[in-house]
Symmetry: C2
């Protein structure tokens, strides 16, 4: 490929997470051959999103306004604050239809391998947000991975030191599982937390 415009497009597509050289080429050929309208729409959507999206002043998720729609919803229970890693995690909890409190979105997690410490995930902002006098329970809903657990532990310590009630999502056997195929760590937790 000796074509600069095509190479530039393939290189730019490769910066997307999970896209390597072959996928980027396939995407570029597809857009140029079959979906030039889609390419124009994607260019506009990128430009618009970069200009319009910023972080919610209260929960840190992406929003076009000063405060996001969830944080401005007066029907939500402001005494519960649920801490999640990403907007996608928040969306998953919303889809479960079983939580009506507010959120704080870390936009990451502690990850020593990526050089991300407790200061890079907005811990100070979370402490300030949780100490507003209204919140009385912080639910740590970071992932149950090594990095998510470390994040929950570090944030939990800091929040408890401020006198806040801190809880963590329950661990246990997922719905639809056969016990035979559940990993031993999960089984041990499910036994320990039986009710």
């Amino acid at each position: 490929m000796a074509e600069a415009a095509l190479e530039g497009l393939v290189d730019a597509l490769r910066r997307l997470p999970g896209v390597g050289q072959k996928s980027a080429q396939r995407m570029a050929f597809h857009l140029l051959q079959h979906d030039r309208e889609g390419a124009r729409r994607l260019a506009d959507a990128l430009t618009h999103a970069v200009q319009a999206m910023r972080h919610c002043a209260r929960c840190h998720t992406f929003t076009e306004n000063e405060v996001c729609s969830t944080c401005s919803d007066a029907r939500r229970n402001a005494r519960l604050l649920c801490v999640v890693e990403t907007p996608a995690d928040q969306a998953a909890l919303e889809r479960s239809n079983s939580y009506r409190g507010l959120y704080f979105v870390l936009m990451g997690r502690i990850s020593p391998l990526d050089g991300l410490g407790v200061d890079d995930i907005g811990a100070a902002e979370l402490l300030a947000r949780a100490s507003d006098g209204v919140v009385d329970e912080v639910i740590l809903a970071t992932g149950f991975t090594a990095e998510g657990e470390v994040t929950a532990h570090a944030l939990g310590q800091a929040l408890k030191a401020r006198g806040l009630k801190v809880t963590r999502l329950a661990r246990g056997v997922p719905a639809g599982s056969e016990l035979e195929y559940v990993d031993l760590g999960t089984l041990a937790h499910a036994l320990g937390d039986r009710r």
Copy 2:
């Protein structure tokens, strides 16, 4: 997600081949959180490529010029014309460093399920191109899939009717294979075409 700019970006990313809702969300969050510069570069690359790229008048591949660099290369053997499905296939043949003729890129293949017939892959242009009086062998290098075989068969018939010599890439055991793991169809072809 009640944010229009974010939803618009996710929808636009979903139009890329192989990208579903979750990947599109992950890409959008990644660009907005960690790589806004990459988002701007991608928007520019898309706009530029859509404006600049068109089809080579001789071989149909993407180029910024009237005729692509391969077709304008006088050192190439103009008597050999290799027919491939995509620019990526052409690039793979080039990397093999064993072909110095010219190409014709179909930009697709016959695919009844997608409603693509022999007229949608530039068969008429190929026949005109191959009948220029210089080409004396057309090498059909479409894929060895069902659709690639149908394409090669249809094009081969039409080219032979014009009195052109038509060949197909050899079938056989790939380099590095253990016979035990090669499929039976390939083994049968490798036996039949033994040399």
